[in-house]
Every structure is written in structure tokens, then in C-alpha cells.
Subunit: 423 residues, 2 copies
């Protein structure tokens, strides 16, 4: 069964909003063996919506539509669906009850605009919206399923999970397609390609490899096709095991894992504590670490020492060293890490000092120059990086590089080391 | 002139990568009066690419294509373009010189894979790639312009800005379309719609309004069509002035501004300093503030006091108050703000303590409960919020609410207040 996703909204076509819905929906459909053939974004325009629906119905058996269901005047999807299916809007009491419930929870009064949200085309099965007021709509027409959902991700996602996917699964007799993504940090796409070339060349015909580079991370996605899910799982696992032997240190995780998730798990398993001292990353490492639920088990806190005097007062960096070597130097970043480890009473502390840009670069230390230090129970590890010229990317790359230094050190330490640590 | 954007890549259709390119390209095209009619995402599949190119050429005069130009084996766009235009690949020396230059800068050796990247279809005008090895390609065929570009945003963006847009502008005789976006914080979409209903109803026919909600922010986008750019500018400005009278406190900025940018500008203009003390936001406010270039002019630093003992030791919160009232309480968050203002020697300090979730909620303090305090030179302002159940959104909403408290306070203070402050 093939699907097309249609996202509706002028905001998408003028580039004001990035379409994140399609990627999420595509991922969900893949999980139940439905392949997305195309994603189409169109404007809030009656004629264009009608054409897109008609074209999609020619290409696929499932058309998932998001957007255009809000309470405000720019949204016309619902009326256009009526026109496409040659039907009319009818009032749906359970949807109106939901509007009233949602508004009650938020302490708002129901307006006439909201009452209209409970109207749906007569030929649809309404889908409930647990996080908002606009119901979803399921249509079946000439062998094609159409589902219209709100564009707000927070409302659309539970609707897909709780209602659309289960209803779709009942209609499929799916062929097997599975994915496994290997997450790497440390080298760029073409260097990585060269390193794993012979492994890649020997992949069987039913396994496809794609390189997905991001700032600081290259993801390797393996896609396997076949008739038996369990067999495919084993095939992919074998390939991953072979790859691990070629690039053991570069692989930090799989699929939807993040570096902060992996590092968090390692710290938690080993009952170790971490703190950060951040200059150019400005709290971003602490933010990444604390974005993980349960991070209070291993994260104590951070000092963001943006001003030099904060480095001196809060992290006991020698003012003279800042003067002589500069804030972006091995000696200063080492002291920052030691200061943070001391202050927060943790096993480890990460410190970063760099020139994120766009200003502040010199010939000796151009924008992108970044020192990272990791204070461990018995030493300080330091490393110098030269990232690029773009502030946001530099901050992100520095944070990832810091987390990866910690990851490698945690893996390097033996079980015996931890016992000593906790004596 | 109308355009279609085609993004190519299996990763888009299995939902592994979010297509951010299209939104950015669409925005750029709008700036030069080219309207994006449709965005189409398709797989790395020869047949599908050929169909999509053919269909787009029926709909529009400009087809911008991203993706599928990497050095690795999953990329087939270039060969398919040859097939579509019935031509063949030829070696392009300047593109190869660029490959060598880029690799030289990074200290890498040029591989055979990279040499292939300098091959382009014989009928194209190659476009230079200042941030990568794959050249772009400009084609003109039966009155339709096709441009193929790398999928990596960092490489594609300068190519659009430096080469594609200037070349496109030469081909246009553009009609005028301008946008103005009003950024609001503080109320939800339907409450906002009700509040500004009469203003919206009276908008002239050539001005269109769209509501674009995000967590914590509702953006109002006005789009005006006409024949004279300057006249449209004046028309939109007039509408915005009227709106400002209806919701003065809710509007925090316009277009691509962010709350952290606006707050940064206010602090800089007034020569004031800020610090943060963060518990549940875990450094995210500091990260937002320091994401702005030049923030070292007004941001001193932050204490991320994730553990309670860090609140006590670093921010001088009374341990007894944490015990009696809990870490998420008015008394504790006030002390955090005062402690940070004292520690960092700033004019203002923001503090946040809340239950981000998913764990940690109680009946009295459910997940989402958040206290925010702003210590000013003469007082502490506190406010309690009840956000939702989703960790990431709670962190984001808390950070925005905190920045907005600071913004409103900065606007409330008169010029005289600042003079007193700097005496």
C-alpha cells in the first residue's frame, strides 16, 4: 500500500513554516509497512487543493492531509473536501463536546468560531482530537482512503497514533520494509564513505545505504526489503555488526538516539555525575543533557561563564592565564573543567571555550577555534577543534564534540575503574 | 513567474530528515516576487524523478531541485537529469578545482569519488558551491528553468543567494507580493482571533491574514498583493499600527525576530546586564540569549541549578524553604533570581523552577507547573504558569515566558529609571 502526504498552507509555500509533519507521518507509516510515495505541499487555495486530491488519488491508495482546519478565517480545507466529495457539512455533537472540554480545561469560553469546528463533511468518520478543537476526518472514496488532520503537530500526532494508524493497519497486507540507522560522529561524509567502501560494495541487493549528513553527525541509513520481518532484522543486525568492526569509535548510537541520550544512559548505568562549565556554548550542553527525562539522576548543574570575570570568580580560573593565553586556550578551559568538577562535586565536568563568531576571531584564533576539556576523577583531557564560520553550527558542533569526548571516556573506563570511583 | 520546488531523497519519504530546504528557498523566491506554487518531495528513484520533472514543467516556469548530488552511492539525480535532457556527463575543470580547494582547506585527500563530483550534464551552466564539492546546475529547456542543487542546506543556501536568485531576477518582471508577520506571545490562537476579530474583518481585499501558532507563540502573517511595492508597504504598516493599538502588550516583534533577539536589543540599548538561574529550563534560556551574536555585551552568565543542593550552595536559597515549600515555589524561585543577580552583579536576573515532566508531578503541582522570577534593581516580580504535559514544550514555553517578563519590564521602565540605574 502506497501513500501520499499533502500538506496545505500558504505558510509552507512562502517559507514561513517548515513542514515537520510530513517527516513524522512518513516515519509512522513506514512502521506499519506503508510506503510514502510522495509529499506534496500546496497553498490554501480551493482549486489547487482539488487538483492535488485528484492527482494523489491516481497515484496512491492512502492520502493523508494536514492543515487548514484551524478556527480562523484562513482555513478552507473542510469546505473544499465537501466539494471534492460532493457533500455538505453537518454538525457533530461529540466533536463539539470535545471543543467544550478542551476549552473548559484551559479556562476559556467557547465562541461561535469554535462551534463551527465541530462541523464535518457528511460522508466522513470524524476522528477525535485530544489536544485541540478541530476533529480529524476519515473518508473512503473509490478505493482510496483520505484522512484530513489538523496542521498543528501537537494535535495531529496523537490522532495518527491513536486512530489513523490502527485503522490503516486493518487495511494493509504489508510487504516488509525495515530501516536501521547508524549514527556517527567525528568524520565527514566522504571520508566516512571511503573508510567503509568495501563494506558498502558488498551489501546484498535488498539492502540499500543512504548517507544523511548533519552538522557534526553523519547518519547511515540501511533499508532492507523482503518478505519476512524477522529475517530482515537478522540480516540488518549482521551488517551492523560488520560495520562496528570497521568504525567502532565513530558509531555513537542507532535510529532515534541522540548523543545526549547515549551519554545520559552511560552515566546513569555507571552511577556517575556530570556538570558543565560553558563559555561559547552558553548553556547549550546543559540544555541538551537536561532535555532527556530523568537527567536529574546524573546532571548536577552548570556554570555558564560568558564573561571572563565569571570564569575567574565562579570557576577559579587564574585571571593572569586569561590575560596571557586568552579565554580560548587549553590552560583556561582546563581550569574551567576542574573548577566545575570541584564546585558541583561531580565525577566529570565538561568545559568549552571557543570563538562562536561572527565576531571575535583573530589570525591566530579564527572564528570556530574551540577548546574542550573533560575533567575526570584522575585527569583532564583536552582537545582543540577548528569548526566553521557559522555561530549556530559552531555552538552545536562544540556541544556534540564535548558530549562525544565524555562518551569515549566513559566507554574507555573499565568496570574496575568505576568500583574504585565509588569506593 | 511561478516556481515548484522538488526535493529528492528517500530520507524525506521515510521521515528521517525534515525538509527545511523548501521553506528557506520559498522565502528567498518570495523576496524577488516569484511565487512558489507547489513543493514536491520524491524518492531517489529514476522513474519518479523523471515524472516529477515532467509534471512540474507543465505547472510552472521555474523548477528548483535539491538533493541527490552527494559523493556517495545513493545519489542518482545527476544521471537522471542527463536522461531527462537527453545529454551526457562531461568533466568540468573549475568544479574539480573547487573540490580540490575545499579538500585542501579541510586537510583531506581527494578521492576518485570526489573527481566524479566535478562531472556535469553537457547542457547545463555549472553553479559554484563555496561550501562543498558538488556543483549546482542551471538548465533552460523549452521555456522552463531547472536548477539542481545539493541537499545540504549549508551548501545550497549560498548557491541560491549568490547565483540562482540573481540569475532568476534577470528573468522576472515581477508582480508585487509582500508579507509582514506580527509575532505575539501570551494568548492562544482562538482567543487572539476573538480579540482582533473586528480588525480582521475590516482588512481590505488585497490583504490576507494567516494564523501561525507555535508553542508559546502565535504569528500573524499579513500578505498584500498589488502593483506597487511602496504603496503595499504603507498599506501594511497602517494595518500593523491599528493592530498595535488593540494588542500592544502581546506583540513582541516582527518577521524573523525572536524573543531573545528583541530582549537582547532592549538590554543593549539600555546598557543593562542580565544573568539567569535555571532549574527546569536547564540552561535553555542562557542558550537562547547567547544564540544572538554580540550577546556578551549584556549577558554575564548563568547558574544551572539542577540539583537542589546547587540552589542552596550557588544561589543562596534557604535549604529550609526548599524543604517546606518545595523547589518549585514562589519563595525558592525568588531567592534563585536574587542569588543570581547578586552573584553575577547584573541589573536583572531571571530564574525558573518548574516540573518539566514527564515525572515529578503531584496533585498539588502537576507536570507543567512553573514558577518564574525576575529580579530587578528594586524588586522581584514572580509569576506562576501551568504549561502542559510535554517536557520539550514546557522547557521552551518557560524560557519564552521568562524572556517575555523581562521584555515587558524593560519596556515599562522609563528613560528616567535607567538614568537612576546608571548613576
Amino acid at each position: 500500500m502506497k501513500a501520499e502526504i499533502i500538506t496545505i498552507g500558504d505558510e509552507l509555500l512562502i517559507g514561513q513554516v517548515i513542514d515537520t509533519n510530513s517527516a513524522w507521518i512518513a516515519e509512522q507509516l513506514n512502521l506499519v509497512g506503508i510506503q510514502v510515495h510522495q509529499i506534496t505541499s500546496i497553498s490554501d487555495n480551493r482549486a489547487h487543493i482539488l487538483i492535488a486530491l485528484g492527482e494523489a488519488a491516481q497515484r496512491v491508495e492512502v492520502v493523508l492531509i494536514t492543515g487548514g482546519l484551524g478556527p480562523t478565517k484562513d482555513d478552507i480545507t473542510k469546505n473544499t473536501l465537501c466539494e471534492y466529495f460532493n457533500t455538505e457539512l453537518v454538525f457533530h455533537q461529540p466533536s463539539f463536546d470535545n471543543v467544550k472540554k478542551i476549552f473548559g480545561l484551559r479556562g476559556f469560553r467557547v465562541t461561535e468560531l469554535n462551534r463551527k469546528q465541530a462541523e464535518v463533511p457528511a460522508n466522513c468518520t470524524p476522528l477525535s482530537n485530544i489536544n485541540g478543537t478541530a476533529p480529524g476526518m476519515w473518508f473512503e472514496n473509490n478505493g482510496v482512503i483520505f484522512v484530513s488532520m489538523p496542521g498543528v503537530p501537537f494535535e495531529m500526532k496523537p490522532m495518527v497514533t491513536n486512530e489513523v494508524l490502527p485503522m490503516l493497519v486493518q487495511k494493509t497486507d504489508s510487504n516488509c520494509i525495515i530501516h536501521k540507522t547508524i549514527l556517527t560522529h567525528g568524520v565527514g561524509e566522504s571520508f566516512l564513505a571511503k573508510t567503509i567502501e568495501s563494506w558498502e560494495t558488498e551489501l546484498p541487493a535488498n539492502i540499500k545505504l543512504a548517507y544523511l549528513p548533519q552538522p557534526g553527525i553523519v547518519r547511515l541509513r540501511l533499508t532492507a526489503f523482503g518478505s519476512d520481518n524477522d529475517e530482515l532484522d537478522i540480516e540488518l543486525d549482521n551488517q551492523v555488526e560488520q560495520l562496528k568492526k570497521i568504525i567502532p569509535e565513530l558509531i555513537f548510537g542507532f535510529d532515534d538516539e541522540t548523543l545526549e541520550m547515549v551519554v545520559g544512559r552511560l552515566l546513569k548505568e555507571r552511577k556517575l555525575l556530570i556538570a558543565t562549565a560553558e563559555s561559547c556554548t552558553g548553556g547549550y550542553i546543559a540544555h541538551l543533557i537536561t532535555s532527556i527525562p530523568g537527567s536529574s539522576d546524573y546532571f548536577m548543574g552548570a556554570t555558564v561563564s560568558y564573561a571572563n570575570k565569571v570564569k575567574v570568580i565562579e570557576l577559579e580560573v587564574e585571571a593572569n592565564d586569561i590575560e596571557v593565553c586568552g579565554a580560548v586556550s587549553e590552560v583556561v578551559v582546563s581550569q574551567m573543567a576542574l573548577g566545575a568538577r570541584q564546585k558541583f562535586g561531580t565525577d566529570f565536568a565538561l568545559a568549552v571555550s571557543g570563538i562562536a563568531g561572527p565576531g571575535g576571531g583573530t589570525r591566530e584564533k579564527p572564528v570556530g577555534t574551540t577548546w574542550i576539556a573533560l575533567a575526570t576523577p584522575d585527569k583532564v583531557i583536552t582537545k582543540k577543534f577548528l569548526f566553521g564560520e557559522h555561530r549556530g553550527r559552531n555552538i552545536r558542533k562544540a556541544a556534540l564534540a564535548a558530549l562525544n569526548m565524555l562518551r569515549l571516556e566513559l566507554l574507555r573506563m573499565s568496570a574496575k575503574d568505576y568500583l574504585v570511583l565509588h569506593k
